[in-house]
């Protein structure tokens, strides 16, 4: 474990995204650590993205670089979001996804629905309000958990219309 060897190890660590490296050889042990974002690191082009701990929040929230990397077909569902139709709650109450506690849910994720089909119940003051979808399509998102309170006009489902 000579100096040259150690320098080599340091270089490896510097060029990597590893924070620390520990090696034992013939009863000797060496540990190399680096502070990834430190100014004296020298390796400033170490991409911050690869190490989430050190990313400033602005960077994480910026979706732009990701979108660039995304192949066209993969971005399709996201683009569709604007075309999705929301099923909204007509009243304040509690959301139920199934007609009774031991029954199957009215609809599941990705399930096809027809316009006029009951998709859930919103209950208020023991009035069971069966909520119907106004469009035919596919359930893209279920936005409320079973048994949670909902507000007037709150979105309950997102549907990709046919």
């Amino acid at each position: 474990m000579n100096e040259k060897y150690i320098r080599k190890l340091i270089k490896i660590v510097e060029e990597s995204e590893v924070e620390s490296l520990e090696i034992s050889s013939w009863g000797r042990k060496i540990k190399i650590t680096q502070r990834l974002n430190s100014s004296f690191n020298g390796n400033s082009q170490l991409p911050a993205v690869t190490h989430p701990v050190n990313i400033p929040p602005e960077t994480t929230n910026n979706p732009a670089p990701q979108a660039v990397n995304q192949p066209a077909e993969e971005s399709q569902p996201i683009a569709d979001k604007s075309k999705m139709v929301a099923v909204k709650s007509p009243m304040v109450g509690t959301f139920y996804g199934a007609p009774s506690p031991d029954a199957d849910p009215y609809v599941g994720l990705n399930e096809k629905v027809r316009s006029g089909q009951v998709v859930c119940i919103v209950e208020a003051m023991k009035l069971m309000n069966e909520i119907e979808t106004e469009v035919s399509g596919r359930i893209a998102e279920i936005l409320v958990e079973n048994g949670k309170p909902v507000e007037f006009g709150q979105e309950l489902f997102l549907i990709v219309p046919d």
Binding site: M91, T94, F95, P99, M125, K126, L127, M128, N129, N146
Partner: protein, 340 residues
């Protein structure tokens, strides 16, 4: 002319006869004069009278002058009994009285769905339900001949978000009715359980069909335990259920109770359409089972604790907590015995 009347025609004739002789108990009606009045054969009057006796009407037939007099009506929910002296303007003026059905709410929703023209205020009644429904797929014990099983079809003009308060409005109409027959013992547990001496005597199941901003129809289903004898409830509800008879210690004529309820319902419904529950809050407070009690409300997966201070005009319950006052629109309420 010798044509025999069909069963339906005979039924209609029997109903006409009972109405005539009942409304004019001072007047004299011979079977002959009735035959003349309704333009039927004398034998038809005899058959119709037999049918009436079969239904349970008590009639007095004077063999000397061949006159027919009304003595008493049976405790049945028939359209004849319901319409007789019904004082409402709209609610219950169109009656469909069944003897035995699966569920009056099912019939009501089928009718309301299929027939756009079914009038607002139409009621469906039954003497027995084989599959009386409660909330969340629960059942409602509906034995023959002792309870009132009723569904009211409403076509309100208010928006769907105002529909839930109808359950509470209905509970209030029921409490007012039971209070006429059994004063001082009725209470409402929010939102819509009606209690006598702390036990459940009635259940309300409201079902709504609505579009975004418009109610297609609203069905209010009501089950009332009227003449169930003490000890007749099944094991699973015997500790928590009661009937009017059990407390009053005598039977109540169900059609009379129903008519009184329909009148109270109409009154409360008119108030509700104008101002929701604003004009009823005082009376709701009077009947409240939960007022000033510390409660826990389980609303879906949420638990909410607080002290009940009243209701708001949309029917939500208002709870006072340590730091704030909140209103809750849905949930099962249990009283926190330790704090109360």
């Amino acid at each position: 002319m010798k044509k025999k009347l069909s069963h339906v025609q005979l039924k209609l004739l029997a109903e006409k006869i009972i109405l005539t002789i009942r409304n004019n108990d001072k007047k004299f009606f011979s079977q002959k004069s009735l035959a003349k009045r309704f333009k039927v054969k004398f034998e038809n009057i005899t058959s119709a009278t037999e049918l009436l006796t079969e239904w349970g009407y008590k009639l007095k037939f004077n063999s000397k002058d061949k006159s027919l007099n009304f003595l008493s009506s049976p405790d049945i929910l028939s359209d004849t009994e319901i319409k007789y002296k019904l004082k409402t303007k709209v609610i219950g003026q169109n009656v469909l009285a069944y003897n035995r059905v699966k569920s009056t709410n099912d019939i009501a929703s089928t009718m309301a769905m299929a027939k756009a023209k079914v009038p607002h205020g139409t009621i469906i009644t039954a003497n027995e339900q084989t599959r009386g429904r409660g909330r969340l797929g629960r059942s409602w014990h509906s034995p023959p001949g002792s309870g009132i099983y009723l569904s009211i079809i409403l076509k309100p003009r208010f928006s769907p978000d105002k529909a839930p308060g109808i359950s509470i409005m209905t509970a209030l109409a029921l409490a007012e009715t039971i209070n006429e027959f059994l004063p001082g013992k009725v209470q409402i547990k929010w939102p819509n359980d009606v209690f006598i001496n702390g036990k459940k005597t009635s259940g309300i199941l409201t079902e709504l069909s609505a579009e975004k901003n418009k109610i297609n129809y609203l069905i209010v289903g009501i089950g009332i335990n009227v003449n169930q004898p003490p000890g007749s409830f099944p094991d699973e509800i015997k500790e928590t259920a009661t009937s009017i008879r059990k407390v009053l210690r005598k039977k109540t004529n169900r059609a009379d109770l129903l008519k009184s309820f329909l009148l109270n319902f109409e009154k409360e419904y008119d108030l509700y359409c104008k101002n929701q529950l604003s004009d009823s809050l005082k009376r709701l407070k009077k009947y409240s089972y939960l007022q000033d009690k510390h409660v826990r409300i389980i609303s879906g997966n949420e638990k909410i604790d607080g002290k009940v201070i009243g209701l708001s005009s949309d029917g939500s319950i208002i709870l006072e907590q340590k730091k704030e006052t909140i209103s809750v629109a849905s949930g099962e309420v249990t009283i926190d015995v330790q704090k109360t």
